[in-house]
């Protein structure tokens, strides 16, 4: 078995060497024919990919790594398959289309093998070998695709976090942060950093945190808010929390969270009025009372 595997492997290597152009052309055509290819990759790009993969396959087959593990352990081949899959993931191809494209190379390789031998036993061994080799490639491609997508999702969620916490200047020395969605530890950190930087940049005296868009305030969210308020106060500014809707107010009271040390308002408009009032006072620091106007 092992000798026949070696000879089949040599045969495949030879076919890859001799018919390189033909194999690449055929694979590109096959992919274009199969409507599974739903990206806007053109023939030229596909051809480049094919040349790279075939050359990597040649290097891999020339080494002495067993075929089953070739794709996962041979460096160049692995990298080529990963790059191919990532490129297609970014171009918006589905994982199925990507692995099917890799798997369709099987057909092309077997066709090429038919030119080298007519012996059925040998062709069967060749089919087994090509299957082992490219099934691993298909699986790796799928795996990479999923990882690539995962990375995109994580990057987007980081970007969204930045996007969703804008610090806006509402009035002279008054800043506001409208919070939408959930306030977790990571988000609080972003909000705090942006807000503290904003206070420094705009020489703000009052910062309004509007929580109209926060669906629920539990003890963890309340604690995050308190930390932010403490940090703002350390910078010599005052903090107003606005947008506390009736259900949220009832829930906070029932939970037993004490927000009485923090100036709170029902709406952003009220908060702005309070902030303007605070900044109008000749000396703001240390003289405000939580009772408000």
């Amino acid at each position: 078995m092992s000798t026949s595997e070696t000879s089949v492997r040599d045969g495949l290597l030879e076919a890859l060497r001799e018919r390189e152009q033909e194999i690449a052309d055929r694979w590109v055509r096959l992919q274009l024919e199969q409507s599974t290819l739903d990206t806007d990759m053109n023939e030229h790009e596909l051809r480049e990919e094919a040349d790279l993969l075939i050359s990597a396959l040649r290097t891999g087959l020339a080494s002495d790594v067993p075929v089953e593990r070739l794709v996962t352990s041979q460096h160049e081949l692995r990298r080529t398959v990963i790059e191919l899959s990532l490129r297609r993931a970014r171009a918006g191809a589905t994982p199925t289309a990507t692995s099917l494209a890799v798997l369709s190379l099987k057909e092309v390789l077997l066709e090429a093998m038919q030119h080298t031998t007519r012996d059925t036993a040998e062709l069967f061994s060749a089919a087994v070998l090509v299957n082992r080799l490219l099934d691993a490639a298909g699986a790796l491609s799928f795996e990479t695709y999923v990882e690539g997508r995962e990375e995109i999702i994580q990057r987007q969620s980081r970007q969204l976090m930045e996007l969703s916490t804008p610090v806006v200047r509402l009035w002279h020395h008054v800043l506001a942060v409208p919070l939408i969605g959930t306030l977790d530890t990571a988000r609080t950190q972003v909000v705090m950093e942006n807000l503290l930087q904003g206070i420094q940049d705009h020489e703000a005296k009052v910062a309004i945190i509007d929580i109209t868009g926060v669906p629920a305030v539990d003890t963890a969210v309340a604690q995050h808010l308190m930390h932010t308020v403490n940090a703002v106060r350390l910078m010599g500014a005052d903090c107003v929390i606005s947008g506390i809707r009736p259900p949220i107010a009832q829930t906070i009271a029932q939970l037993g969270i004490d927000l009485s040390t923090i100036l709170t308002r029902a709406t952003l408009a009220d908060a702005l009025a309070a902030a303007v009032h605070l900044t109008d006072q000749p000396s703001v620091s240390g003289s405000y009372s939580p009772a408000g106007p």
């Binding site: 539990d218 003890t219 829930t251 029932q254």
Partner: protein
């Protein structure tokens, strides 16, 4: 903002059980910060389905959030089960929602203190467990040191 909402919806949809809770029960894993989000969305959907008003919805979601966070932070991860309840007609036929939060963490050695406001072993505010008790109608805790904690809470619609 729309984008962010979509993101929220989508990430909630990535959870193990996406389909709305129907008359029976559904269990969600609580083992990451994202799971807390999934759980809150699922509980919110369940409260809407049970016909709770906005204030009660917020109460139940907040209680679920407290309990799930406890299981995640103190219990090292666990699960939350949502059950839709309906009383027999002779008892009023009210609808209700029961949440069961389980973890296999170290357990709560001193339940009495844990239910006291301001008591905390971690860095939290210490209102979570007692707060959840006040937010719901029925509340029970079973905790065995070294084996884990189970908290069962229920709230009825229109008492």
């Amino acid at each position: 903002m729309t984008l962010y909402d979509e993101q929220l919806t989508r990430s909630a949809g990535l959870g193990p059980q996406r389909s709305p809770v129907r008359a029976g029960s559904a269990t969600y894993s609580v083992s990451s910060e994202e799971d807390l989000l999934t759980v809150r969305h699922a509980v919110r959907a369940a409260t809407v389905e049970a016909g709770f008003g906005l204030v009660d919805q917020t109460r139940i979601v907040t209680a679920a959030s407290e309990l799930a966070r406890n299981a995640y932070i103190h219990g090292g991860g666990g699960s939350l089960t949502i059950e839709q309840l309906r009383q027999p007609p002779q008892q009023g036929g009210r609808r209700g929602l029961r949440l069961t939060v389980r973890d296999e963490g170290p357990g709560i050695p001193d339940l009495e203190s844990a239910l006291t406001d301001g008591f905390t072993t971690g860095a939290g505010l210490g209102h979570g467990l007692g707060g959840a008790q006040r937010l719901m109608h029925e509340f029970s805790v079973h905790s065995t040191t070294g084996e884990g904690t189970t908290v069962v809470v229920t709230r009825w619609n229109g008492r």
